[in-house]
Subunit: 200 residues, 2 copies
C-alpha cells in the first residue's frame, strides 16, 4: 500500500493541540477497524512525520519536541499541515519559512492549515482569491493580510483547493474530513470512534 | 495567585492526544477571557509540566518529547494526570512506576487518568472499590485487573474521588470538567471556546 507522506510543520510557539490533533488522527487511522490494527502500521494509510527548521522546538505551554526532519532533509511530502499558535506571528516576516512553504505547497497533493496557520499561508500568497478560515480571534487579521481572501467566519473546515480549519481542536475535524475524502466515511468514523472524538 | 501544580506523566508509547489534550486545556486556561490573556501566564490558574522516568520519551506515532522533569526532581504536584496508550501495558508490571504513582497519589489534591491510564491506576490499587472508566477497548481489562472496580461503560468522565476518563479525546472533556469544578462554568466554557472544542 502506498502510504501518503504526511508532514506537520513545527516551529517555536506552535499551539500544542494544533499539531497534536491532526498528528493523532493521521497516525492512528487504519483501514482495518478495531484496537488490534493500531498495534502495527500494516493498514495505516498515512506515514506522519514532523518537519522543522531547527533540531528542537518548544510548543505552547513549554512542551519541547524533537522534530523528525529538518527543512533540507525530509522525505517527499504528499500532505502538508501548517498548524497555528502565537508562534506564527514571527513567521509572517520570515522569508526563509515563507519560501519553504511556497516551494512545498507547489508540489504537495494537499496543503492544509489549522488555526492561525492560515495567516502564514495567506502571507505566503497561497490563499489568493480563495475561501478560508482561521481561529475566531484572527479572522480580521486574515482578511487584512490578504484582502482577496473570502474569510469564512462560521465554518470549522473550509475546502477551496487549500483546506483551512478554525482554531485548535478544529484541526481534528479537518484531519478526519481528509481521511473521509481519501478513504471513505466508514474509515473516518471508525478512526473518530477509536480516539473517542465526536465528529460534527 | 496560587497556581495549581499540574503534572502529566509521560512514558514511551503514551498516546499523543491523551497527553496533549489535557496539557492544552490546563495550559491555556485563563481567568480573564479572550485571546490577549493567553499571551502571558498572568491569569493562568494552572502551572502544567511533564514528568517522566527518562530524559526523552517517544509517544505513539513516533513523536519524541523532552519531559520537563524526572521522577526524582519534579516540583510538588497538586493535580496528576496519568495518560494512556499501548505504552501502559509494560507499566502494569513496572514496580518502580507503580510505586512512584502510589506515592504521588497519596499526596496530590486530585488524581486523574485518561484512556488506558486507568489500567495503571487499577494495577497500583488506586481504584479499589471505585467507579471508573477507560478506553472502550479496555473496559473488560480494567474489570479483570481489579474486580472491585465498578466499570462505567457509557460515560466519558467518571468522578469517584479519582477522576477517570474514556479514550483519548475524552481527556479534553475531563480537563474541562476539572477547570469547571475549580474555577466555574464560565471559565471552563471560555477555555473550550478558545480552543474551539465543543463540550458535551
Amino acid at each position: 500500500m502506498k502510504r501518503r507522506q504526511t508532514a506537520i510543520l513545527l516551529f517555536d510557539g506552535v499551539e500544542l493541540l494544533d499539531f497534536a490533533g491532526p498528528f493523532e488522527v493521521f497516525s492512528r487511522t487504519r483501514l482495518t477497524p478495531g484496537v488490534e490494527s493500531r498495534r502495527t502500521d500494516d493498514t495505516a494509510p498515512f506515514r506522519v512525520f514532523t518537519v522543522a527548521r531547527t533540531a528542537q522546538i518548544t510548543a505552547t505551554g513549554g512542551v519541547r519536541i524533537l522534530p523528525d526532519f529538518r527543512f533540507d532533509d525530509h522525505p517527499a511530502i504528499d500532505l502538508l499541515v501548517v498548524p497555528g499558535g502565537f508562534g506564527t506571528r514571527p513567521l509572517l516576516e520570515d522569508e526563509t519559512m515563507l519560501d519553504w512553504i511556497r516551494d512545498r505547497a507547489a508540489r504537495v497533493e494537499q496543503l492544509t492549515s489549522v488555526c492561525t496557520g492560515a495567516l502564514v499561508l495567506a502571507r505566503a500568497g497561497l490563499l489568493q482569491g480563495r475561501r478560508a478560515t482561521t481561529h475566531w480571534g484572527a479572522l480580521d487579521l486574515l482578511a487584512a493580510i490578504d484582502p482577496t481572501v473570502t474569510v469564512e467566519r462560521e465554518r470549522r473546515v473550509v475546502h477551496d483547493r487549500v483546506i483551512t480549519s478554525a482554531g485548535v481542536a478544529a484541526g481534528i475535524d479537518m484531519a478526519l474530513d481528509i481521511v473521509e475524502r481519501l478513504h471513505g466515511r466508514a474509515v473516518a468514523d471508525e478512526t473518530a470512534r477509536y480516539i473517542e472524538f465526536q465528529r460534527r
